[in-house]
């Protein structure tokens, strides 16, 4: 019984949404279509240059709103195909012209306009049908309840039933019930169909999708190359100024010791002690350097234990929860480790937290991990913040990061890298 009620309720909800959609599809799409056509037509007159970007922007908003409805109402994902604007678009009139040409050159714009046409016809029809199947039966019932008497002079048609007596009115009611039953089963699929129609026009073409993917890959590759290069520079500098210099000094000291050992054993002894100290310091520096490149525990035990070892070194109590059934690829492990490390450093340095929680698990083809602290919150992702560094690092592996950090805390950094465990 509950299941049936749930079904009816969800069908009614779908009908309501269909009604909303039909209004939006008809009014919104027709208005925007007319405005777009006019605006583009007026480009030769100059007026169009000013209005077109605004109108097209509105069209995109309209389409994006539909994308949002599609994912929230029917779980239909419609990807966004628009080309990003280059960063150096000028302001003022020239910028306006530039924007207009950029938008008109984007095939996605023309598909948007096509969609407006489809939306106001097929899209509208389907949406209306989704709601009508649930609303029209109401009229049948009302007719049977006595409304038919009002129309006795004239024959009144309820669908294909001519209503002129209580008998035919009851027939209309029966038809209404049939329609309603059909509606219960069809309104949700119809709503979905509406979004599928939208997707068939709005979604990027296969070519565009590939182009988008290439753009993204080029971008992340540049970032990866840059990061690797600067990392190499850092390592070279650290070796040059640190361990290497110390070893040179040590060699020099030993040379002096060789010369002094018989003449001045006291001094030679002192120099030997210095040489030993230098070698210890060189080792410490090398150790830190190695930890920065590839932490030893990560190499020996994998991600889970490496993060646990990291947590033990923090000055703040940190709970680590690991659920991994195998090991990810070495580059992925490394990226994840440094992402966690960076997030932990942020939490310790800036959050003023008393406790930190790290959660690490693998599911649905992705490594997911999060760092949560009970600090003061207010962390932002932006240029220069450590968090955007993490984002870049993860981007190379198609990984993503989300930060939730309301003022007053707590801060939660969630990260995900698609990968398989072995």
């Amino acid at each position: 019984m509950d299941a049936k009620m749930g079904r009816v309720r969800s069908a009614l909800l779908a009908a309501g949404r269909g009604l909303v959609l039909s209004v939006v599809a008809l009014a919104g799409s027709i208005t925007l279509f007319v405005l777009t056509v006019l605006s583009i037509a007026f480009i030769p007159l100059g007026i169009g240059l000013v209005t077109t970007p605004q109108v097209l922007e509105a069209v995109r908003k309209h389409a994006n709103q539909r994308r949002l409805m599609a994912i929230t109402w029917s779980n239909v994902r419609i990807p966004v195909p628009y080309r990003p604007f280059p960063k150096d678009v000028r302001s003022g009139f020239t910028g306006q012209v530039e924007r207009t040409t950029l938008m008109l050159k984007d095939p996605a714009t023309w598909r948007d306009i096509q969609w407006l046409l489809v939306d106001m016809t097929a899209g509208y029809a389907v949406a209306v049908l989704a709601s009508a199947l649930m609303l029209y039966p109401v009229e049948g019932i009302v007719l049977a309840a006595g409304l038919w008497r009002v129309y006795t002079d004239d024959r009144y048609w309820y669908a294909f039933v001519p209503v002129d007596s209580q008998g035919t009115a009851l027939l209309a009611a029966a038809l209404g019930v049939v329609l309603f039953t059909a509606g219960v089963f069809l309104s949700n699929p119809l709503l979905r169909a509406h979004f599928m129609i939208a997707r068939s026009v709005l979604a990027p073409t296969h070519e565009r999708e590939l182009a988008q993917r290439i753009e993204r890959l080029t971008e992340t590759r540049h970032e990866a190359v840059d990061t690797a290069a600067s990392e190499l520079r850092r390592i070279e500098r650290d070796l040059h100024d640190g361990a290497q210099a110390r070893l040179v000094a040590m060699g020099m000291n030993l040379g002096t010791v060789e010369a002094l050992i018989e003449k001045d054993p006291e001094q030679a002894k002192k120099l030997l002690a210095m040489a030993r100290e230098s070698s210890a310091e060189a080792l410490t520096e090398l150790r830190d350097l190695v930890r920065g490149i590839h932490p030893p525990v990560l190499a020996e035990r994998g991600l889970g234990d490496a993060v646990k070892a990291l947590a033990l070194r923090l000055p703040i109590p940190c709970e680590v929860d690991v659920e991994l059934t195998g090991r990810a690829g070495a580059p992925v492990e490394s990226a994840a480790y440094f992402a966690v490390s960076e997030a932990l450093t942020n939490a310790v340095k800036h959050a003023g937290a008393e406790r930190i929680w790290v959660d690490l698990h693998h599911g649905e083809g992705a490594l997911r991990f999060s760092v949560t602290d009970n600090g003061k919150g207010g962390a932002t992702v932006g240029a220069g913040s450590g968090l955007s560094g993490i984002e870049r690092r993860l981007g190379t592996f198609d990984g993503i990061m989300a930060v939730s950090s309301p003022a007053g805390g707590p801060t939660m950094v969630t990260m995900e890298i698609p990968c398989e465990l072995s």
Partner: protein, 217 residues
């Protein structure tokens, strides 16, 4: 005293053999891989083993795993683990069984031959030798936490040396106080950590363990 040595770098293995022999240890075996080490543990029954964490063929923590397995088979088997880096995580694993005879040191510690040999002897005698780096990591962490706040600065200092595995005499000479004063501090520490009186050596291990465990809180 018969020593089994496991180290994959030839230069270091050679140096260690020479150093140990200079201090009158008998080298029962000097091996370079994990499987060889496991065999040496089973066949030679050494008095003490000096083991590198990272060994072939896996080049991961094979040495550590061999040592842990050997200690499971023969509880209290003295093992001194050497590593290019020291981690609390590994220290905890080594100490977890609560038996003595365990050491965990940075490889650099062999620079000071006397101290290193002292550590080997301590481990062979059933004591502990923890690297100061492990202990100092703990202390920086501990100092902000309440449970250890009960220790006075002096007791904390004693605790640090004790955690490294020093004897009362060694602690006394290092801190320039009398042995009796050290004994008083240690019994205070045991009291504050809630360790019941028992064999003194083992209580020292337990004290380090208690330290490590509270590091988790």
């Amino acid at each position: 005293m018969r020593v089994v040595l496991a180290e994959d770098l030839f230069l270091l293995r050679d140096g260690l053999v020479r150093m140990l022999e200079a201090y009158d240890f008998e080298i029962a075996a000097a091996v370079e891989t994990g499987p060889e080490l496991t065999r040496a543990f089973a066949e030679l029954e050494p008095d003490v083993a000096v083991v590198d964490v990272r060994l072939p063929p896996s080049h991961t923590d094979e040495g550590l795993q061999c040592a842990l397995a050997a200690r499971r088979a023969r509880p209290g088997l003295p093992v001194l683990v050497l590593s290019q880096h020291v981690e609390q995580l590994y220290a905890r694993e080594l100490l977890a069984d609560g038996n003595g005879g365990i050491g965990y040191l940075l490889k650099d510690r062999v620079f000071d031959a006397d101290q290193f040999i002292d550590a080997v002897r301590r481990v062979a005698a059933g004591g502990t030798a923890m690297d100061p780096q492990v202990i100092s990591q703990l202390l920086t962490r501990r100092s902000q936490d309440k449970p250890m706040g009960g220790l006075t600065p002096r007791e904390r200092e004693v605790m640090e040396l004790m955690a490294q595995g020093r004897s009362n005499a060694a602690i006394a000479s290092q801190m320039v106080i009398t042995e009796r004063a050290v004994a008083k501090h240690t019994s205070n520490i045991f009291g504050k950590l809630g360790l019941p009186p028992s064999d003194d050596d083992n209580r020292r291990v337990l004290a380090v363990l208690a330290y490590l465990d509270r590091g988790q809180g």
